[in-house]
Structure formats: C-alpha cells, structure tokens
Amino acid sequence: MSELVLKMEGVSKVYQLGKRNVNALANLNLSIKKGEFAAIMGPSGSGKTTLLNVIGCIDKPTNGKMLIDDVDTAQLPESELYKIRRNKIGFVFQNFNLLPYLNARENVELPMELTKKSKSERTAKANELLATVGLSGREEHRPQRLSQGEQQRVAIARALANDPAIILADEPTGNLDIKCKQEIVKLLANLNINQGTTIILVTHDGQVAAHTERILFLNDGKITREKEGLHLAKKNICPYCKAKLQPADEKCANCGKTVRFRKKPSAPVVSETGKNTPA
C-alpha cells in the first residue's frame, strides 16, 4: 500500500485577475498512496477547487510536477489529458451532474462509451456498479425519479465506471441532508475498505472529513496541517498512535484512546397509548 498514485512536487497555479496575480496554489507538495481515503479541508478561497481541478487534469498547473500513476500530466497536451480524465480519474460533483435525459444505467455507461468495451460488457458493468452503490432495481430510473442521495450514488457509480486510479469528490455531501450525507460517507468508506479505491474528498464539513483516514488542511494554496481521521480504525490502525488494533478493540491498547464507538442503545419506541415499551 505504499505505492504512490499521486505525487505533486512544487505545484503552483497563478491566475491573472486583471493586473493582479493570484496564487491559488503556491509551491504545494502532496503525495497520496494507493488505497488512501483523504479529505481536503480549508476556508473559501484557500485553493481547494483549484487543487482538485489540477489533480483532475481540468486545469494545468503553472509550475511543478504532477504525477498520476507516474505520468506527469503537467506536460501533457489537451489531446492526451482527456484520456487521463477518462481512464485515471473519477469525478463526483456536488450537484451530481447526471444527464437528465439518461436513466441511471445509461449515466453510468457514459464514461465507458469511448472505451473498447462492448455494449453488453458496459451494461453488465453498469448494473454491477449500481448494485455496489445499493441501487439494484433502479437502473431504468431517470435522475428526476431518484432522491438526491440516490442521484449521488449514481454519480459515484459513474465515477467508478472506468476503474480510475483516483476518485475526486468535490463537496459530495454539500447538497445532501444529514441522513443522505451519512449514507454517502459510509458508501465511500466501504468502497475504500472493500475495493481499495483511492478517494480524495474536498469538504467544508468537519464531520465528513473526520470519517476519512487523512485530513489535509489547505490555506493560501499550501497544505498547512495534516491530521489522521477515524477511518483508520476501520483499517485496524489507531488514528492517534498508528499502533495495530485488533478488530474487536474499542480502545487502543497502546495509547488508551477510544478508537471505536459502541453503538448507542436504541431509543424506546413510544406506542400509541403513550406507554413506553422496550424495543
């Protein structure tokens, strides 16, 4: 798990706003290992979206090296970059960005349209991915007939279509209510654990970020702070001291901190007669 899927060295991005130069990214270094689940946090204007665009080959960095699977995308022309986007990157957007006139399966098939896969292979893969995100039986539904949480699941399935090296999720929970938010975070966490998908998540939401394994704080175009998240415990590593955990441990044997929370007891159900009955 030590192989680097993303390596950024001295990456800077300068925008020209009128006569002023804005350093959206300033000499940024970042490495993401294969199978990592990272969150990028930071205030507005800190360069989060620029960073994501640069990683996703949507923007080109002004300076620096940008290695995705050992290919320096900073040097590639647009005629090559779209292939990187198609094959190496999976995008998940805040607004889902599903095509409204295509049903769930067709939306998932879309990134595979331009690959060598046959139509039946594509359909089979799309159905499999929709099952992975828990949408079996909803393949024929169009986006407007899906809830927002479900739409985001379709978008995640679409991002996984070409088995990308990295999933880039830009505020994936930004438009969702608390329940959907938890579902999506859990889905991403499970994808990371079960399929080893590398995920980079940009969020404002500390709670969401806490569920990843590595939280990066971005400020003025630089990574200023880094912290471990609770997700590490799911990989049986103590988020605080990196000691190896046993699957059943609630507290770290090494540092004594609580790493897993016991499930809360179910709240008593109030019956129609007003009497409390045990669940």
Binding site: Y82, R85, F91, N97, A159
Partner: protein, 451 residues
C-alpha cells in the same frame, strides 16, 4: 421551410411549361415551314367559312400539347399543329383560317381549269370529319367542341393529278398507296388503324360501309394523323355529298405564276377564299414572329420570377442558417454544465464537437422533413399567391397554358424533396459548426460551478 420548398416547386413547374411550349412551337413551325416549301405552287380554294378566320389558340393547354384551330372541331394530339381540310403532308387549312368545311358544288368551278392560264391541274377534295362532342373546362369557362375520331379525305384518283402533285399520303409504312382508279379501298393512318382496330388487308366499316385497307400511312405532316384517304367519289357517296367538295386545290405551272393564278381565281369567283401556299408561308412567318415575341415575353416573365425566387431562396437560406446558429448557440450555452461534465468524465473535444454537429444536422433534417410535408401540401396554394401568373402577359387571342391554371400544376417531386433534405443537412451543418466548436472548447471546470 415550407415556403422554401414551395417557391422552387412553382418555378420548376412554370419553367417546364414554358420550355415545353417553346419546344413545341419551334418543332411545329419548322415542320410546317418545310412542308410548305415543297408545295409552293399550290393554291387552296374554298368557300369562306362562317367561323372567324385567323390563327387562334384556344382551349386548355397542358404542357406538351398545342391546341388550336380556327374552328373548334379539330382534335390535336400532343405536338400537333392544328389542321383541317388541308392536304396531307401540308399545314392544315384550318390552322390558317382557310377553312374548308363548307361543301360546294365542284362543277361550278370547272372554269378554273379551263379558262385561267397558268393552271397546271385542279384537284377537288372532300374532307369530312367524324367525331364526338366533348366538353372542355378550363379556368371558369367551358367549351363544347367536336373531337374528330377520324377525318375522311376523298381525293380524285386521277393519274394526271396524283402522279404529279402531292395530294396523297407521302409516307406509306405498309401496304401501298392509293392508285388511279381505286375504289372501295382506303389508306388508313396508324392512328386510324388503332382506332378501328384493323390492320393491312382487313376490311374496315366506315359509316356503315365496308372498305378494304390497302395501306397504312405514317405521319408525314402534322395534320394527317387521323386522316384516312379514299377516292373522291367513294367519299362523296359515303358522306352524302355527291358532286360536292370542300376544297379545290389548284396547282400553278410554276411558282412565278402563283400570284397571277390566284388573283384570277379571286376575280372569277369572289365567294371563294383563295390562299396560296406562299401566302401561307408568309402568314406563318408572321405568326412565328408573333410567337417569338410572346415567347420572349414569357421568358422575361420567367426570368423575373426566377430572379425573384432566387432572392427569396437566398433570404430563406440565410435566415435558416442564422436560426440554426442561434438555436444551437443557445443550446450549447444552456448545456454548458452538461458539456463540462462530459469533458470531465473523459469526452474528447472531437467527440463533443461531433455530437453537437450531429444534433444540429438531425434537428434541421427533421425540420426538413416537416418542411417537405408542409411544402407538398401547401405548395399549390402558396405558389398561386407568391408567383406571378404567366398567362396574364398574353393577348386574349393567345391563351397560354398555364395562365391561371399553371399554378395548379405545381407539385413537389422527389427530386425537390431530396434537394430540400440536402439543403437542410447542409444548413444544419453550417449553422451548428460554430456552436459545436464553442461546445468543444467548454472547459470541464464549468461542470464544477455551483449553481
């Protein structure tokens, strides 16, 4: 789009009508002139008919058909020049107003041969048309006229005449021509043969009397397509015109004598309508000049219509391309986020561009289909409103087909439909070129924008 289809349809119809007319006129004139030149020594004498004389065109005109005749009792098949009691192989007398349908006693005019110097021969001829009445409607008027099923022409089978002068059919396709002294036999035209359903050697019953078909003649002149030939006496007996003829053909010794002979005949028999072949020729030439003028007028009108329609087409084409351009630009702008998404998930510039081009082309092809359907339904109505009526430019004596009726001939044919589809594909491609290029240049980051 409908108007775009309708306008060229109208032009095409008017154009083809005029071209047909032009072709027919020049064919007919050439043919007739050639025939006249062969028989310059000939003088036709007949009673002045009661019908108005003068060359007139009347009746319904369909492309390819030239309908005419001074009297309303002759039928003309396409490409045929009007004819009446004329001699086979010649222009018809009726066409020049000579008229010959009034029978006269042949013995009254025996003095033409005996007392006028310079007369080489006299051939009395009886021409009788047999036919049925039909009612022809064009515009808001209708006419009843007789359509000749066949024309009986009785010629004197006298070797001194038929051996020297062209009064018998000249183009025998099978069998033989009439011979001096023949009786009870006929030479049919090919049309007659089909009409009666008989062939060479068969017996044919004409007006209740049986004749033997000894020959079939092909069409030499324009007037003899329905004319059958028999001896004068047979014809007189058959049609109840004993001793009567409709035309006396006088042949002068040579062409220099023609004028003197014809004036002598006129002096002797003032009641006769005397016309020489030479006069006919000059009359025809006069007619030809008139036609030329009229055709030039028609051509001018057509050219005007065409240039007008061309302007309309240019305007329509430009407007259509602009509409496609703006619609596609709007579409691209409205779908910026979608395009950004497509590019973010790995669509290349080329794919995006071709998708939008295809969309524009499909859109305008669909519009083309709708336009052709509407156009084919609406073209006749639209063209009667939009196109000038060619007929109005002609004098009342010359009814050019097509006048008000020409617009009903407008149809949208398959070629026009194909042109319509082709034009819509080209315009769709043209109009969506820039919007598609704009779409392909959309930055994928647009998909990231929050709304």
């Amino acid at each position: 789009m409908a108007i775009m289809i309708a306008v060229p349809a109208g032009i095409a119809a008017n154009q083809s009508a005029t071209q047909n007319l032009t072709g027919n006129l020049s064919n007919t004139l050439t043919l007739t002139e050639a025939t006249i030149n062969q028989t310059l020594t000939q003088i036709d004498c007949s009673l002045t008919p009661s019908a108005p004389s003068g060359f007139g065109f009347s009746g319904n005109f369909t492309p390819g058909q030239f309908n005419g005749g001074g009297r309303p009792d002759f039928n003309f098949t396409p490409g045929q020049f009007g004819g009446g009691s004329g001699i086979p192989g010649e222009f018809g007398g009726g066409a020049l107003g000579g008229g010959g349908s009034n029978p006269m006693n042949e013995s009254l005019y025996a003095d033409i041969n005996s007392s006028i110097p310079g007369v080489a021969a006299v051939a009395p001829i009886l021409t009788v048309s047999e036919g049925h009445n039909v009612t022809v409607t064009f515009g808001d008027r209708s006419f009843t006229r007789m359509v000749a099923d066949y024309i009986i022409e009785g010629v004197p089978l006298n070797s001194s005449i038929i051996d020297k002068y062209p009064i018998l059919p000249t183009n025998i396709t099978s069998g033989r021509n009439l011979l001096a002294g023949d009786s009870g036999v006929v030479v049919l035209s090919e049309n007659n043969s089909a009409y009666f359903g008989v062939g060479l050697g068969d017996s044919v019953t004409i007006l209740g009397q049986a004749f033997e078909v000894v020959g079939i003649h092909g069409t030499a002149g324009a007037s003899d397509r329905t004319t059958l030939y028999m001896s004068l006496s047979d014809a007189q007996t058959l049609t109840g015109n004993t001793g009567e003829v409709t035309t006396i053909e006088v042949f002068a010794d040579n062409s220099e004598d023609v004028t003197a002979v014809s004036s002598a005949i006129s002096t002797m028999h003032a009641e006769l309508d005397v016309i020489t072949a030479q006069e006919r020729l000059s009359q025809l030439q006069q007619q030809q000049t008139n036609y030329d003028t009229q055709l030039a007028n028609a051509q001018a009108t057509l050219n005007q219509t065409q240039s007008q329609a061309f302007e309309e087409i240019i305007v329509a084409v430009v407007a259509t391309s602009l509409i496609v351009l703006f619609v596609m630009l709007y579409t691209v702008r409205e779908r910026t986020k979608e395009i950004g998404t497509l590019k973010a998930i790995g669509f290349s510039n080329r794919t995006v561009m071709s998708q939008f081009m295809l969309e524009g082309i499909l859109l305008s092809l669909m519009a083309g289909v709708v336009g052709v359907v509407i156009g084919s339904v609406a073209a006749p109505f639209l063209s009667s409103v939009l196109l000038p009526t060619v007929g109005n430019s002609f004098g009342s004596s010359f009814r050019f087909v097509g006048g008000p009726a020409s617009t009903t001939a407008v149809t949208v044919n398959p070629e026009l439909m194909l042109i319509g589809f082709g034009v819509s594909v080209v315009l769709g491609a043209l109009g969506s070129l820039y919007p598609a290029w704009r779409a392909s240049k959309t930055r994928p980051a647009e998909a990231m924008r929050y709304e």
